[in-house]
Subunit: 354 residues, 5 copies
Amino acid sequence: MPKKKIKSKNHNVGAPPGELYYSGSESNNDVKISLIQYNEATFSEQTFLDVDSMLKEVKPGLIKWINVDGINRLDIIEAVGKAYGIHPLTQEDIVHVDSRPKFEEYSRYVASILQMLYYDNGVRYEHLSIVLFEDTVISFQEPCGGDAFDVIRTRLRECKGRVRKMGPDYLAYALIDAVVDHYFYVTEELGEKIELLDEDILNNIHMNGIMHRIHELKREVLLTRKLIWPAREMILNMMRSDTELINETNSIYLRDVHDHINRVTETVDQYRETLNNIMEVHLANNANKMNEVMKALTVISAIFIPVTFIAGVYGMNFKFMPELETKYGYWITIGFMLALMIGMGVYFKRKKWW
Amino acid sequence: MPKKKIKSKNHNVGAPPGELYYSGSESNNDVKISLIQYNEATFSEQTFLDVDSMLKEVKPGLIKWINVDGINRLDIIEAVGKAYGIHPLTQEDIVHVDSRPKFEEYSRYVASILQMLYYDNGVRYEHLSIVLFEDTVISFQEPCGGDAFDVIRTRLRECKGRVRKMGPDYLAYALIDAVVDHYFYVTEELGEKIELLDEDILNNIHMNGIMHRIHELKREVLLTRKLIWPAREMILNMMRSDTELINETNSIYLRDVHDHINRVTETVDQYRETLNNIMEVHLANNANKMNEVMKALTVISAIFIPVTFIAGVYGMNFKFMPELETKYGYWITIGFMLALMIGMGVYFKRKKWW
Amino acid sequence: MPKKKIKSKNHNVGAPPGELYYSGSESNNDVKISLIQYNEATFSEQTFLDVDSMLKEVKPGLIKWINVDGINRLDIIEAVGKAYGIHPLTQEDIVHVDSRPKFEEYSRYVASILQMLYYDNGVRYEHLSIVLFEDTVISFQEPCGGDAFDVIRTRLRECKGRVRKMGPDYLAYALIDAVVDHYFYVTEELGEKIELLDEDILNNIHMNGIMHRIHELKREVLLTRKLIWPAREMILNMMRSDTELINETNSIYLRDVHDHINRVTETVDQYRETLNNIMEVHLANNANKMNEVMKALTVISAIFIPVTFIAGVYGMNFKFMPELETKYGYWITIGFMLALMIGMGVYFKRKKWW
Amino acid sequence: MPKKKIKSKNHNVGAPPGELYYSGSESNNDVKISLIQYNEATFSEQTFLDVDSMLKEVKPGLIKWINVDGINRLDIIEAVGKAYGIHPLTQEDIVHVDSRPKFEEYSRYVASILQMLYYDNGVRYEHLSIVLFEDTVISFQEPCGGDAFDVIRTRLRECKGRVRKMGPDYLAYALIDAVVDHYFYVTEELGEKIELLDEDILNNIHMNGIMHRIHELKREVLLTRKLIWPAREMILNMMRSDTELINETNSIYLRDVHDHINRVTETVDQYRETLNNIMEVHLANNANKMNEVMKALTVISAIFIPVTFIAGVYGMNFKFMPELETKYGYWITIGFMLALMIGMGVYFKRKKWW
Amino acid sequence: MPKKKIKSKNHNVGAPPGELYYSGSESNNDVKISLIQYNEATFSEQTFLDVDSMLKEVKPGLIKWINVDGINRLDIIEAVGKAYGIHPLTQEDIVHVDSRPKFEEYSRYVASILQMLYYDNGVRYEHLSIVLFEDTVISFQEPCGGDAFDVIRTRLRECKGRVRKMGPDYLAYALIDAVVDHYFYVTEELGEKIELLDEDILNNIHMNGIMHRIHELKREVLLTRKLIWPAREMILNMMRSDTELINETNSIYLRDVHDHINRVTETVDQYRETLNNIMEVHLANNANKMNEVMKALTVISAIFIPVTFIAGVYGMNFKFMPELETKYGYWITIGFMLALMIGMGVYFKRKKWW
């Protein structure tokens, strides 16, 4: 994923709908397919490199979680799609790394498309899709994001929490919850950077690159916001859906996720406004400092210019300049010049001009 | 609670939902449990250090208010939760000090999660939860917030107002009302600070740190807003709820609380805009003052530079400079220079350049 | 009422709901109670100082308008409240001068709480409450606002307009209409001040205090907005209410009031934006004027500094400076200096630097 | 209508509702009443100066369009109102030139109040009312707006388009459509002025009055917006109305008008943002130009000040200054000064300081 | 289409509704009419220059796509309209190149009016109309936009994708989808320009014209936004429509288009904010650079002015100036002046004034 995410790539523009096109940047061919089958009593975990051998291992009566790690191998996506009857449009969304988070109901399944955020020298994201069938959950992800789901895998394996006792809808919920929980890492990271920035400004240090730091953070907050807002809408749609695939009693968990994502969006909005405030303070500080310098320097000029004029006057070569002949003319002039300079200095000081 | 509340802590990210994690900063182990039982005729008040001994004292037929003062002892929260059948997700919200205000209905109870605000050298908040059962109200709070509920305790004890005559729903309402009433203290405190700032700007004093004062106040107004907005939504949800636990006739009181919180949010929004106005005035004032200074100083330069040039001319050492030989050359030159300076001064004055 | 209305007072925070607390600043004890009884044929008007003697005069079969002039005597409010069965929460709203405009339905009456605005060296407001019963209208107001209702009193007395022929709901409407009509005075006053400001800026006069005038007007527009918005909501609620106390056929009049208040809010919003525009123009003007001055002054320096240098050169005391010995050296130098100055002046002029 | 429309006049504030008050500035007494009667086959057009003679000419079975040209003769409005049963509140809206656009349904008629905009050295508007009865349309307008309806009159007379074949509702629609079409003229005029402004800024000409031109245009866009927004709402209300006076099949034409007014409002909003952009560019340009000038001038000072100092040094009159005695001292000094000036000039040039 | 699209043309203002007026700038008379007839098995493609000969070729039982390439020949539009019963208002929208995107249902057809965007030295757009009948799709377009539909034509011809197997509603969807896909090209182009701008600002190059580049991009983003927003609304209306002409099962494809256009609008909104951020950084950079220059130059003045004064003092011609007679007076003075200059330089450096 490129660092600057202003432009988005859409190379499959013009292709017929449902034609798969992988828009990401992976080129690795090793797409791993893992199959976890469990119920409250049993648990098995297997890894495959192709779809057919995986399909052979699927056992009825168990809850199945198929995780496809890598979405650049379109043949694998299509094979899974064909085996499970996933609509071509859904398949297109699964492989299109820039599609908007969305929740869609089909007759046999519901699909949640969303992005996982992480922070690595800037806000990064990965494309994720979770498809929920009657007894199966299929998740598709770009490879590096594996860690978000590891928590769930461990919970399944060690039978921690509720997840082994519940249906596939709870598993789907748990996966989405894990993703939304990751959003907090990103906002925390952004929050720390903003706090650091704020302190640097209060202490007036590192003044040079601050505008660029603010710009960079604003851009990241903007990107985060753009990524999270539709995810929130997606979860809302999921909550309101009356699909039979999601058990009524599990809606309470979705409500919880919705609450989390609301908190994230509020935090991001707060960051946005905080960054604007910080920028205002920074600009005002800068202008202030500049003003101080200019005032001090201009005061120096203003004090010396009149006396320099006087010196110039007595530097004139007129033949008849009576003062020049007097005995104390020099000392009187020097005295007057000093008095004038001190007087102006005091006057400016009193007027708080420096 | 830290002073700068830009970043929020979420250390239980990744944990299974419903797993309790205390995210606050208390480490004191002395969690006090108080049990108040009353009806219109009787009133008793007891304090315990553990849940079991408290549960033994609970008498049927009375309205019970259990207040848990301190939410860092997860074992106590779990014991209460188990005894009263509080859902793990609710328990999680009770101990998670950064959860958003919300109102949630469960089959046997309704839960209101909110924050109490107070002002102590900055806007501070405490996490509060009020769980309403058929004949019991359980409230959970971080320790220092005890005083908000003291008012209610006194009213119960002294049988003031309506509270002893009404059901547990009225008690829950009274607790929420007490919390919302506290919001006014915070907005008053902020309002006073803003007024002080406004006066300082009108009188042009303390100009140095003003930008930081504005920034600090903006941040506090922003934080207050972020905390109060979801509380408003919470109370609206509570009003609209059709739970049987809240008596229809008491909805009028909720309407009153909703009205209060509306007033608070409007005040906070007004503060926000006022602060923006104040900042604009301050920046304009600053620029104005700077302009005045620069103009005055530059006028001095502009007046003296031409005459200094003239003096320079007659300071030249050319052999043949007829003016130097004339008798009144010096006086004429001096006169011309003075006239020029006065002329420029008058011209600049007329053009209002200083 | 204080001039600067940034902060609002809420001293009854923490008190039980329904406990009366007068939050205004009147201390006069002379609360006047006036009783007007009328139907199409008859009209009587009486004034009392206590509630009991007033109640004795109430005659059945007539429409009764009780106006309580002054809300600082809580005993009187309570007596009226008791006699007519006004809910303690309504009573609280009646005496609490900072409560938000609202419309509330109770079983026996409907209550409209609102503020009357007037302009007296700044936007001022008074607290007003209108309670409508089946055959009675009770209005409560702070004393100085009497004139708003005088129009209605005169119309009743002289049997002008429709008001004597209609029921008490029309009277209540007429009172609210009189209040909303007063809002126009305030917006007119603000509009005049804004127009004056605008002209002063176009004519570049009174430049000094303009930023403070803008600030002051912005604050007043902000306050007006804050006061009028909930009033609009109140009237909307009143329109939508299905209470039997308000006759269906009178809803057309409410629609008219709603229309008026809409016009007021639109005007206030327009003022707000106009003030922002004015401020932008003012700041740009100021910067422009400053720029002109600085440019002119700097041009003077730039023209004289090079020639002063040349004069300095020929003021040096080197023994061997051939130019000094030449016959026309002085005149050539003077000529060159003049040419340089004129050349620079023309160049700067052409570049439009002054 | 005054040019500066910041303030609005509301002299009938305090009057009983329904009391007519003409708030415009016409004083001409010649109110023309025209009566057009038509069906698909026949067409007649007559003009009257009083209502009674007009009423005598009204024939049953034809569609009647009564146009009252001038609304300052309250007696005429009242006579028409009485003859056709127009509610006093509607009459009030008809003569009150500043009332908001609105659509109101009464039992026997529906009334559309709106403003016609035209551009004559600024945005101007006229008050218009169209009242639709079962077989009659009555329109009221301020005199100068006659041309907007001329198009319709011609179409009726020459039997062009659909209007002769359709009912009175289509006529009412056609009148409103003619008014909304006029809005485009205003936006076109504003658009041309904005484009001119934009070009002037790109070409850096007429820089002086630009801020005032921007201000003036912003004000006009603001006014246009304020006038058009409620008109849009009015048309929406008309579309949604289920009155029997408007034929279902004609709602398609209203949809078209609604579409037009939507386009106007979007254009106005675009103008608003464009003006803000233009202002930003203008301010940045101005600052830029100022910076260039100041830098150039300051560079001149910076180059000459050091060498002037050197000249000053050798202008000192110390007895023992060995350099003064050397043969090439003068030339060396001159050379050094030139080298210094050129060096500084090159250095500043390289740093892009001028 | 002109480059600067601030103003829109509306020359048919005042014409009766439904009267055709071509508001574009084409004058070519060669309007091509292409007729494609297909079902899953057969496909034929013909081109005509007049409507009648085209109508003769229409065969029942096939899906017909009539594409009218060029909308300036009103007679052709009217002939098509008459043959297919297209309402005059729809015909008006078809030829009016500035009409808002909209979706309208009539009894026999539904019409989608929208704009195709492309980027050619600025955002350009073309007017498009798609009318869907029971077994026919008629599309009208301005000539240069042919390429957007070429993709569909190829897919039909080569029987690629789903389009040959589906009904005319799918064809209409495919056409709209092709148009919306083109929006991505425009946003990509804008995105690239914005990224380039951003890099230039980070690298501080091409500083001169940057404000105009920002202005130009802002204007294009604004125009794009204005064009795309109503298109989004149009698609939403199409989705929500319950017309029988669009098959329920195809609504999933509309959902996909809606999703795409949502992504486009979000991207455009992000661009808008990014441009604002970029402008802020640019202005701050500019101010910063200016400040640096001014500070450096002013420091030079401040350092040399005091010593120049000292030199001036010893250049005075007083008879009695004892220092002038001393042996080392000159050297002491020179040393003092150097020390003063270095001291000031160090002091200013330490204060970070340069």
